[in-house]
């Protein structure tokens, strides 16, 4: 059909069809952001949930209500747990990911490309419930045996599971970042008498730093938003955690357990949307940071 059209019209059809796809996706994303924001804010504006109390209160209980008939909506325990899990898992995964990326690019490039990278990509493909399952049976069991705690659930096993999950994200991006460093930098450094490690430490890592930062932040984004694997090992109790092996609950895991329980439009449901809004806000902030890093790196180059 299209081939009978004059060329200029054909070009317009092509641009229209493909443009429509882009517009559709953009509109859906805008609708998503708008709806989550609207639902999330309605708890504060419509139901009169205290904003300050939401961010600083430590009592979270949607099931019971206080004297005014409002559920307890202090989300600080969830926020603290979410951040604790994110920071801890990144701290565990970071040295391992960067180290293996360095090995796969600088020390054994051929092995890195042919063997190591496919293996790491396999890790990306493992579903998060399977990570959770292994965490539930192996890591939680190990926690019980090592630290002699009754349940073994908590922030530490959650972070360990997450660390394994974000490991491939950071590693593959770090590998790309290191590969993008021009070879002439390495040769120049080696010609000056630097050893390989000095070259890696002072030259390669230094010049790949912005991209490595981006890799780490994308890993953190994934850790912050991951749901089911964490849910299976963290215990799911919405109180302020007293330690790393104390059952806790993150923002995402609370959503998983409570979302289907409360009817659309109820205070409880709206408060859960406020949590979702916070998750969305965090990922927007992460994207912003990545853009800022990209801009800064671009300016320097």
């Amino acid at each position: 059909m299209a081939s009978h059209l004059p060329k200029r019209d054909l070009e317009k059809v092509g641009m229209g069809v493909t443009g429509a796809c882009v517009v559709l996706v953009t509109l859906v994303v805008c609708a998503l952001i708008f709806m989550v924001a609207q639902k999330g804010l309605s708890s504060f504006f419509k139901d009169g949930v205290d904003v300050v109390g939401f961010f600083t209160g430590t009592a979270w209980d949607l099931h019971n209500t206080d004297a005014n008939g409002m559920p307890f909506t202090g989300a600080l325990p969830l926020i603290v747990t979410s951040f604790a899990v994110m920071v801890l898992s990144t701290a565990i995964a970071l040295p391992i990911a960067i180290g293996s990326a360095i090995f796969a690019v600088e020390i054994q490039p051929k092995f890195g490309q042919k063997v190591f990278q496919p293996l790491i990509e396999l890790l990306v493909g493992i579903p998060s419930v399977v990570f959770g399952l292994i965490g539930f049976y192996v890591i939680v069991g190990a926690m019980k045996a090592i630290f002699h705690v009754p349940t073994g659930l908590g922030i530490l096993p959650g972070s360990l599971v997450l660390a394994i999950m974000i490991l491939p994200t950071i590693t593959t991006l770090a590998i790309d970042a290191l590969r993008a460093v021009p070879d002439s930098y390495r040769q120049g450094s080696l010609a000056l008498g630097y050893t390989r490690w000095q070259t890696i430490w002072h030259v390669v890592l230094r010049s790949a730093a912005p991209s490595l930062m981006t890799a780490v932040i994308l890993g953190m984004t994934r850790a912050f938003g991951e749901t089911l694997a964490v849910r299976m090992v963290i215990g799911g109790i919405e109180t302020m955690p007293n330690g790393l092996l104390d059952a806790a609950s993150t923002i995402t895991t609370t959503l998983t357990t409570s979302m289907a329980v409360y009817a659309d439009g109820s205070v409880q449901n709206d408060v859960l949307w406020s949590l979702a809004l916070m998750l969305m806000g965090m990922s927007l902030i992460f994207i912003l940071i990545i853009h800022l890093i990209g801009k800064k790196g671009g300016d320097r180059a």
Binding site: E11, C21, C30, P127, T256
Partner: protein
């Protein structure tokens, strides 16, 4: 007098050079040692990571592979809320939802990627679009699931259904696919584009007849790999496709509005991953066997997607270059 002084100075100087020499030797030695230690540590890290991956995969397969050959596990419906019987319906639902997801997401992603790579006028609209896609890719899947629940299940009245799940998965899949296809198109040499345009082809014709075929191996590899990701996704499905399959499904029925018709997209469905989440905490040994069997089944499927992606991509590439 002066000769003694001179010899003393000479002696001091030579001592100084010797000391400097020694310092330098020490420095080089230290740098060399650091280099060796670093290499050792890095090697150890990689060995650890590889051991971790291999042992994880092996552990899952070891725990669950026996169940896969258990008669009825792959062919029977689940009973007693999933703690007995097989996972036949979950397996079917997983593939059915994957199929629907790909049917919706591949054309949209292809169009979007072509626009961004080939047309994309420099300007605010393109910038907004690529930022939107980036945003979608970094949103937690639970948020996508909640949005799907609100819009499709509640507002559109689709309730817990296969189609709600497939649309939620589409939103999760599109950013992945767009990026892969974009990459594939960008990797086609600029000279091919120039040649097409020089021959008088429009950009649309060039894209359809030259660029997409040239990028096809990478596109197919990307689609199959993304299919593996979609296949294991659960968080976005909890509130959209639901956590249960009908007790009885009729695969021969063509009455698409019947709740027992397997092909009815408005019936609830449960993927393998959701099934694991639903019953992982059940204590009975039978349920545990089913959980591990399901995990092994998921792993086998993901491995197959991985292998298929590579094989098909290579085959297509070979066919294209051999001609």
């Amino acid at each position: 007098m002066s000769s003694i002084e001179a010899s003393q100075t000479a002696q001091a100087a030579s001592l100084q050079t010797a000391a400097a020499e020694a310092r330098r030797a020490k420095h080089i030695e230290r740098a060399g040692a650091q280099d060796r230690i670093a290499t050792f540590v890095l090697t150890a890290i990689v060995a650890f990571v590889m051991l971790l991956v291999v042992s994880m995969v092996a552990y899952i397969l070891y725990q669950g592979i026996g169940m896969l050959f258990h008669p009825g596990f792959l062919t029977e419906a689940s009973r007693a809320n999933g703690t007995q019987g097989g996972v036949a319906y979950q397996l079917f639902d997983s593939f059915y939802m994957l199929f629907l997801t790909l049917v919706i997401s591949v054309p949209i992603s292809l169009g979007g990627a072509v626009f961004l790579v080939e047309y994309a006028p420099d300007g605010p609209i393109t910038k907004i679009a690529s930022t939107a896609i980036e945003t979608l890719s970094s949103l937690p899947s639970i948020v996508v699931g909640m949005f799907g629940f609100l819009v499709f299940s509640v507002n559109l009245g689709w309730k817990y259904s296969i189609i709600s799940g497939a649309v939620a998965l589409t939103m999760f899949n599109i950013p992945i696919l767009v990026r892969v296809i974009q990459q594939a198109l960008e990797d086609v040499p600029q000279s091919q584009r120039d040649a097409c345009l020089a021959m008088g082809l429009t950009r649309w014709e060039a894209t359809i007849h030259v660029l997409i075929p040239a990028a096809m191996p990478a596109i197919v590899t990307g689609i199959v790999l993304s299919a593996g990701r979609v296949f294991g996704e659960a968080a976005a499905l909890l509130f959209t496709s639901g956590m249960s399959s009908p007790v009885r499904l009729n695969f021969l029925s063509l009455n698409f509005s019947s709740p027992t018709c397997a092909w009815n997209v408005f019936r609830p469905g449960e993927s393998l991953a959701v099934h694991i989440y639903k019953i992982y905490g059940e204590g009975s040994p039978q349920a545990q066997e089913i959980v591990w069997g399901t995990a092994a089944l998921l792993m086998v499927c993901v491995l197959m997607f991985n292998i298929a992606a590579r094989v098909v991509g290579k085959m297509l590439a070979k066919r294209m270059t051999a001609e």
